[in-house]
């Protein structure tokens, strides 16, 4: 019981310390900045899609509805994938013995998730084919592919920079 109190007091002191407060402020500012940037990127991407596909107002409304529906499904899959990858990375840390059952389960789940993502993409393209003509649909598909490529590029640049800086090789 006494140990619990000591823990609690220690935790409170930690959070109350100026360093912790500053860290909290930085995290919060970082989250706000990230949200703002995400919003700007989504807005710009949508604007480019609208412009390059030459969407009518009716098509815009329909694509917006489709994107909301499938966006929610893709977000859910994306979150699951991130959690699975994190769990797998923890299992594969150098110097720590991996649990074969867990690793097998996580790997299978990741492969299954890739299939589900492909199915969602297929369903979404089928849905947009109802109101976009083949050229518009192909443009949308290519723009999405290019965007994913850009995301990987941006992530890769940052990751490579960090790796060169810290010589972090835990991913191997």
């Amino acid at each position: 019981m006494r140990t619990d109190y000591l823990w609690l007091i220690g935790l409170m002191l930690f959070w109350a310390s100026p360093a912790a407060a500053q860290r909290q402020r930085q995290d919060s500012a970082g989250a706000v900045q990230a949200d703002s940037l995400r919003h700007r990127i989504e807005e710009r991407f949508a604007s480019r899609v609208q412009e390059r596909l030459g969407l009518t107002s009716d098509q815009t409304a329909k694509l917006r509805a489709t994107s909301q529906t499938f966006g929610a499904r893709r977000r859910e899959l994306h979150d699951r994938e991130r959690r699975l990858r994190e769990a797998l990375s923890r299992q594969l840390q150098p110097g720590i013995a991996a649990q074969p059952d867990s690793v097998a389960r996580l790997t299978d789940a990741l492969i299954e998730l890739k299939q589900q993502s492909a199915q969602v993409a297929r369903d979404e393209m089928k849905e947009v084919a109802r109101y976009l003509n083949p050229v518009q649909r192909a443009r949308l598909f290519m723009m999405r592919e290019q965007f994913s490529h850009r995301v990987k590029q941006a992530h890769g640049r940052h990751w490579m920079g960090r790796r060169h800086k810290h010589k972090d090789r835990s991913w191997m």
């Binding site: 970082g30 995400r38 710009r44 969407l55 009518t56 098509q59 991130r82 003509n133 050229v135 290519m142």
Partner: protein, 173 residues
């Protein structure tokens, strides 16, 4: 009141389904070309939009037409006014139908300008895990032209020696 004028008054009532032709009226329609054309025109107007505009309510259209005809009859009881109104209603219905539900031809991109186009929103879950510095970098490069060959997921066999060197460097650090 002549038989033609009486039939003119009866046409909207019968067109809206609130009554039916009497045998003597049918006989008159058979022998009077003017009344028959008037009846045919109203029938044609009623059918406009069939199969093209499912949400167009035929009964509503008929009642609007009948109301217009009734108003018109008060000022001009001659059949030309009926013909004019029926034709105008027909043209209006045709324009409305054509505007709203003509199917778009696949392969043809729209060139019509829509003044009030709602903003499109496309959620991008790929962005969720990115740090501000990565998002900032993405914002700067997202409009740059993309070499489509870069999207093809090349295998090692597709790479030249410089690219292979770069891969080796990235793996060995």
């Amino acid at each position: 009141m002549s038989e033609c004028t009486r039939l003119s008054d009866r046409i909207p009532v019968i067109a809206s389904g609130r009554s039916e032709w009497m045998p003597e009226e049918m006989d008159h329609l058979r022998i009077c070309g003017s009344c028959r054309r008037e009846w045919e025109l109203v029938q044609l107007t009623q059918r406009l939009g069939d199969g093209q505009l499912p949400e167009l309510d035929a009964n509503l259209m008929t009642s609007v037409l009948v109301r217009q005809l009734a108003v018109s009859r008060q000022s001009r009881r001659r059949k030309w006014s009926l013909v004019g109104l029926a034709a105008a209603a027909g043209v209006a219905a045709l324009l409305w139908t054509g505007n709203r539900s003509l199917p778009r031809v696949d392969g043809a991109e729209s060139t019509v300008e829509h003044p009030a186009v709602a903003a499109l929103q496309i959620p991008l879950p790929e962005l969720d895990g990115l740090q501000p510095v990565e998002l900032d970098s993405l914002l700067r490069i997202m409009d740059a032209p993309v070499d489509n060959t870069a999207l093809e997921n090349p295998e090692l066999d597709d790479l030249d020696s410089a690219e292979l060197e770069a891969v080796l460097e990235s793996w060995e650090g």
